[in-house]
């Protein structure tokens, strides 16, 4: 199986504080990789390094085939990103947001036009194309945000707590979009607080105090720790944390 992310010995220090402590892992093409951890465990820092936003103190690796230390600009062209804060421009209309990000990723006007139609019909949002994003319900915004993160056909899409603040039903519908993307060969790297979402992942890593404490499929993890759901696994591991938030 081809790896799209290969990380070894990744460490990031801020002064005396070691936010990410010598982590190594691989992510396979087309899988849904859950990146779990309590607040302050270092997952946001690690994710920022993978996205080319931050340079590691030591260690390294590749994302989408590019070196995370030497080629962060190339990485940026081949990844999609959706952050925990809902982040589209709420004072722009739906189609304007799509067009903006199409433009940012260098798509031609023709490509943008066809992607816009595709996206709106796929999401069932044709009727709100001229609405301001601020007027949409949160669940719709998140789906739109995800589709826009995929506008340039990235190989990997990073989702930083993508479904914060919505009910389980809306979350489930959001995950249908994720499955659809992986069926096309896109790799999904997702952080989450919701353990029902962790169950949807192919493999899950759990970070505690800057280190990866466990990494396996949800089923395997439950078997190893002898519990019935991911929530219990998470509580057992995160309970070991000594670091304050």
């Amino acid at each position: 199986m081809e790896n799209v992310i290969e990380i070894h010995g990744l460490t990031k220090k801020f002064g005396d504080f070691t936010a990410v402590d010598n982590i190594s892992f691989n992510v396979r093409k087309g899988e849904i990789f859950g990146f779990l951890g309590a607040n302050g465990a270092g997952k946001t820092t690690a994710m920022r390094i993978l996205c080319g936003l931050s340079i590691p103190t030591s260690g390294g690796g590749t994302v989408a085939g590019y070196d995370i230390v030497r080629e962060p600009e190339k990485i940026k062209r081949h990844i999609g990103y959706m952050s925990q804060k809902f982040s589209l421009y709420s004072d722009l209309k739906v189609w304007e947001n799509i067009r903006l990000f199409g433009g940012i990723y260098g798509l031609s006007d023709k490509q943008i036009a066809s992607r816009t139609e595709e996206m709106l019909s796929g999401l069932g949002m044709e009727e709100v194309r001229n609405s301001f994003v601020s007027s949409l319900p949160l669940g719709w915004k998140q789906k739109l945000s995800f589709s826009i993160a995929m506008i340039h056909d990235p190989r990997i899409v990073f989702l930083d707590e993508p479904t914060g603040g919505v009910d389980p039903e809306t979350r489930r519908r959001f995950w249908e979009l994720i499955y659809e993307a992986t069926s096309k060969g896109v790799t999904v790297f997702v952080t989450t607080h919701y353990m029902d979402e962790a169950e949807y992942c192919d493999r899950v890593s759990i970070m505690v105090d800057g280190r990866i404490e466990a990494l396996d499929s949800p089923g395997e993890l439950k078997r190893i720790y002898g519990v019935s759901d991911m929530d219990a696994v998470f509580r057992m591991l995160a309970g070991k944390a000594r670091r304050e938030e």
Binding site: Y81, L92, R99, F101
Partner: protein
């Protein structure tokens, strides 16, 4: 380049959609000009003068004519007695009264002393003081003429000093506040608006989204700045038009030079805005920083309201650090005195130096933050 175009379009949409802010920003110069021009009045214009005394006296006649011919004074009424002054003030028909003593001309001729009393309307002490001073100046001029006539050829006439203000004989305050308002407005638009708009993206999380995109940070900054450059150009033109046609402030120097100086100052303010956006993490703190940290010192120390020359030593030193001060000095020289570039080289180099420094620091800091 296509990426850049997408960005610029987005920035223009942002500010055009935010109609309320846009309106405020475009109306602000007009309101400030009107406020400073009419509400905060520090000049005399058409002060109405009442005369009490015998107007058949040729000396009195001469003075009254002189006042009537003065651009800034108008004769309102000849009152038969000084007792009527109060009612004239109360009805707001006059601003000042001049009372000539009995047999004013004859006494003046014989003894060299005429008695005149100037009565001001103290209910508005500031303007009363100013008008009284002005009338006194006019009377002194007359007195000097008379004593020259009386003393005749020997030339040892009593001398009373005459003060003439060059460029601004009536101490028109517009000459002072137009450059000030210009500096203030450009500063607000460029530093406050830019910093708030960058910090807003940090707050909403869209900045992250832009940073993980392949767009270069430099283009993000340039496209942020561009719309505000346009807005400040509009403001600049508004102020110039208002000052010319509403306040009657001339533009004696070259418009090109003035625009050049304004562009330099705009770049200064933009780099200050950038610096603020790096330091501040919320829109509120960006507003506070640019309000308290930039506007207050600019208003107080740049010479807009209080002349720098009258400040205590320490504050004078501090005022040298205010970019707006140098801009305002240059604008005054160009607009009012019609000075060419050789006369503003010193101020221009100081401001250019400050700008280069600020720009270097803010771009470097901005990079680090990214």
């Amino acid at each position: 380049m296509k990426e850049f175009a997408a960005f610029v379009r987005k920035e223009f949409r942002h500010i055009l959609r935010d109609k309320r802010t846009m309106l405020i920003v475009l109306i602000m110069p007009v309101v400030q000009m009107i406020l400073f021009g009419y509400a905060v009045r520090t000049e005399i214009e058409h002060a109405r003068v009442d005369i009490v005394g015998d107007v058949s006296d040729p000396e009195v006649r001469r003075i009254v004519d002189r006042i009537d011919n003065n651009r800034y004074l108008d004769i309102n009424e000849i009152l038969p007695s000084s007792g009527l002054i109060a009612s004239s003030f109360e009805k707001n028909k006059a601003d000042v009264a001049i009372c000539f003593g009995q047999d004013f001309g004859e006494r003046l001729r014989k003894t060299g002393r005429g008695s005149v009393k100037i009565v001001g309307d103290g209910s508005d002490p500031n303007s009363a003081q100013m008008i009284v001073n002005y009338v006194m100046g006019v009377l002194q001029g007359e007195q000097a003429d008379i004593s020259a006539e009386l003393s005749g050829e020997d030339g040892t006439a009593a001398f009373s000093p005459s003060v003439q203000l060059m460029y601004n004989p009536a101490m028109k305050s517009a000459y002072n506040f137009v450059p000030g308002v210009m500096g203030l407005i450009l500063m607000i638009i460029c530093s406050m608006m830019t910093s708030v708009s960058i910090v807003r993206e940090k707050e909403t999380g869209t900045m992250e989204l832009l940073l993980v995109s392949p767009v270069r940070p430099m283009w993000i900054i340039v496209s942020k700045v561009l719309p505000y450059l346009l807005v400040s150009t509009i403001n600049f033109i508004t102020i110039l038009v208002l000052s010319r046609y509403m306040m009657g402030v001339p533009l004696r120097g070259s418009l090109l030079l003035l625009s050049g100086v304004a562009v330099l100052f705009v770049v200064t303010s933009l780099s200050l805005g950038l610096l603020i956006s790096v330091v501040a993490s919320t829109q509120k703190s960006a507003l506070l920083l640019s309000g308290m940290g930039l506007m207050m010192p600019t208003v107080l120390l740049s010479g807009i309201i209080f002349p720098c020359e009258n400040m205590p030593g320490i504050l004078q030193c501090l005022s040298h650090l205010i970019p707006a001060k140098w801009f305002i000095i240059m604008v005054k020289k160009i607009m009012i005195q019609g000075a060419g570039f050789p006369y503003i080289v010193k101020e221009f180099s100081i401001l250019a130096g400050m700008t280069a420094f600020l720009l270097a620091v803010s771009v470097k800091k901005f990079r680090i933050r990214l």
